[in-house]
């Protein structure tokens, strides 16, 4: 049986924040008498993650995804509740715990700006107590997986964003951690660089059985990497489960575009009891529930003179978008 590597129970986190009124008067007031209030950004959440799982954290900006990730890796103290990661209390930041994890942030970098990435790799290797031979072996292996070579010897400031991100990954993985926390790792990367990064993460997970916790606003990252997603809305978990189940629940119908040979057939189809989305000349778009798609198609093909037929899945961004604004779309699951 696969062990739970992350166990979170009734976790909450509050921050003190100050607010300021606009204008000079507001600024002066803010300077002399700052109004602060406690804001609960994470509200009583619980979940477990098994070893080797890739879990995506979904949520709108400010939903609390990054705060959860930062509490999991021990950067921020929780206000209430408990977290166990690999058997450790993360906020104690014990040496053996830190050797087991890594955090990669798409918008922050740890590489030394004026030097080639290879210098940062060897510095990290010494921090993780790796000897030169072992470090060299790991750099070679990871650079092959990431498909970077010459870039290792070019100053970081002269690398493209994609090359820099690959180097950041290598720097963060040199100690071969078995839990990866990734906060928007593909932020700002072009389509090819995003694809390569996803490919690498899949390969790394497969080869090392590492657990990956990922936040991203690019749906492609989530759909191609994560089987399971945890949706966070205003600090609370609104869904925790399989991604395909979420998609099915959020999008129970498919759209079928039918091109008929004549306009008469279009009228016949319109009056045959299906839900019509729209019709233009000899084309008609029907909305059919997922669970009756096979029988409906059979009926259509047997009874109508069809020239062509297209089944359209609703765009995933649109579907997931519904999760991010729970006010407009309340998710109810069994």
């Amino acid at each position: 049986m696969v062990q739970n590597i992350i166990d979170v129970r009734n976790l909450s986190k509050s921050f003190y924040i100050s607010s300021k009124e606009p204008g000079i008067k507001g600024t002066i007031k803010h300077f002399f008498r700052r109004k602060t209030k406690s804001l609960k950004v994470i509200k009583d959440i619980s979940f477990e993650i098994k070893e080797g799982e890739i879990v995506g954290f979904l949520g709108a900006n400010g939903a609390g995804k990054t705060t959860i990730l930062k509490m999991l890796c021990g950067l921020i103290y929780p206000s209430e509740g408990s977290i166990l990661v690999s058997g450790y209390l993360p906020f104690r930041r014990k040496e053996n715990f830190l050797k087991n994890i890594t955090l990669i942030m798409g918008q922050k970098q740890q590489l030394i700006w004026d030097l080639p990435p290879i210098e940062s790799f060897y510095l990290n290797a010494s921090i993780y107590d790796l000897d030169k031979f072992e470090a060299k072996k790991r750099i070679k292996k990871l650079s092959e997986m990431l498909e970077i070579d010459e870039e290792l010897f070019i100053p970081v400031r002269k690398l493209s964003l994609g090359q820099r991100m690959k180097s950041e990954l290598l720097a963060a993985l040199i100690h071969e951690p078995n839990i990866l926390f990734l906060d928007e790792p593909t932020l700002g990367l072009d389509i090819n660089a995003q694809r390569n990064l996803r490919k690498f993460l899949q390969k790394y997970n497969k080869e090392t059985n590492a657990t990956i916790c990922l936040t991203s606003h690019y749906m492609k990252d989530i759909t191609s990497l994560c089987k399971r997603v945890i949706c966070v809305h205003e600090g609370a978990i609104s869904y925790d489960g399989k991604l395909d189940l979420l998609l099915k629940k959020l999008s129970p119908v498919k759209e079928i575009l039918i091109v008929c040979r004549s306009e008469e057939d279009v009228i016949k189809l319109e009056n045959s009891g299906f839900t019509v989305k729209n019709k233009i000349k000899n084309e008609i778009t029907l909305k059919i529930e997922n669970n009756s798609i096979t029988s409906s198609l059979k009926t259509i093909l047997n009874n109508f003179d069809i020239e062509d037929l297209f089944i359209n899945e609703p765009p995933i961004d649109e579907v997931i978008g519904k999760v991010l604004i729970k006010k407009d779309y309340d998710i109810k699951f069994d």
């Binding site: 830190l98 050797k99 010494s126 921090i127």
Partner: protein, 264 residues
């Protein structure tokens, strides 16, 4: 603590920061010229103060020059280690890159205090030592073992006090986010350390001994050089340095509990 590992990491710190600095040759050259001009300017200023009377606070010019030499050494250490590292703490906290430091299996205070060096500060340290040797000669100081030991102890204590004060202020960034001004105030107080403590009024002497212990930083080591120091003062400096060092360490560990990391 694994000493061997820390030495290995420090060797890497030296290597990477030297390599980074050497990327900008002109900057190093400008820093070197600035260090020389700054020392010449300070000695010139000191000589003007001594022109009328020959004595300030009971100190002769040749004796006061020792304070200048110790100040130059300490300023060199400040520019070599404290300035590039401790001012960076503010940046680490504001931009949230402290996250990377805290997630490394190494002491975070060690990492942020020693990661960088500014090689041009070395010249200042060397100039300070040359000036000190010159002072030893003109003041006809006898270089005995006890003298060297006491000098080493008092200068080390001065470094610890200076580091702790600076580190303490930088740590408050965790709550206040911007503390540049406080560090600038500390630096300007350090300029006062170029003059003998006795040259100030009683109230200022108390202030610079108790609240901001500038007196301990330059005057006591200088008194050791001139054989004027009393044992209680040296013991007191050791105690003050230890208290400052321990407090700054405890304060850092306490402050980390309030670190909320920058938002992404």
């Amino acid at each position: 603590m694994n000493l061997k590992k820390y030495l290995k990491v420090y060797k890497k710190f030296l290597h990477t920061s030297l390599a980074s600095e050497l990327e900008y040759k002109t900057n190093i050259l400008v820093d070197l010229i600035t260090a020389i001009l700054s020392l010449v300017g300070s000695i010139f200023l000191l000589s003007i103060f001594f022109q009328n009377n020959g004595y300030i606070g009971g100190w002769k010019f040749e004796q006061a020059l020792i304070i200048q030499a110790i100040y130059t050494i300490l300023n060199g250490i400040t520019n070599t280690w404290f300035n590039p590292n401790l001012t960076e703490i503010v940046k680490h906290i504001r931009e949230g890159t402290l996250d990377f430091v805290l997630l490394k299996p190494i002491d975070s205070q060690f990492f942020i205090s020693l990661k960088k060096i500014n090689p041009s500060g070395f010249l200042e340290i060397m100039l300070g030592f040359f000036l000190l040797l010159f002072c030893i000669r003109i003041n006809q100081i006898n270089l005995s073992f006890s003298f060297l030991s006491l000098s080493f102890i008092t200068i080390s204590c001065s470094i610890c006090i200076l580091y702790s004060l600076w580190f303490f202020i930088s740590t408050t960034t965790i709550w206040f986010v911007k503390t540049w001004n406080a560090i600038e105030v500390l630096r300007s107080f350090l300029y006062i350390g170029r003059f003998p403590l006795n040259s100030f009024s009683f109230s200022l002497r108390v202030f610079f001994s108790i609240f901001i212990p500038i007196a301990f930083i330059t005057t006591i080591p200088s008194e050791v050089f001139l054989g004027l120091s009393q044992l209680w003062k040296i013991v007191l400096e050791v105690i003050v340095a230890s208290v400052f060092l321990i407090t700054s360490r405890k304060f850092w560990l306490f402050a980390l509990k309030f670190y909320s990391s920058a938002s992404s």
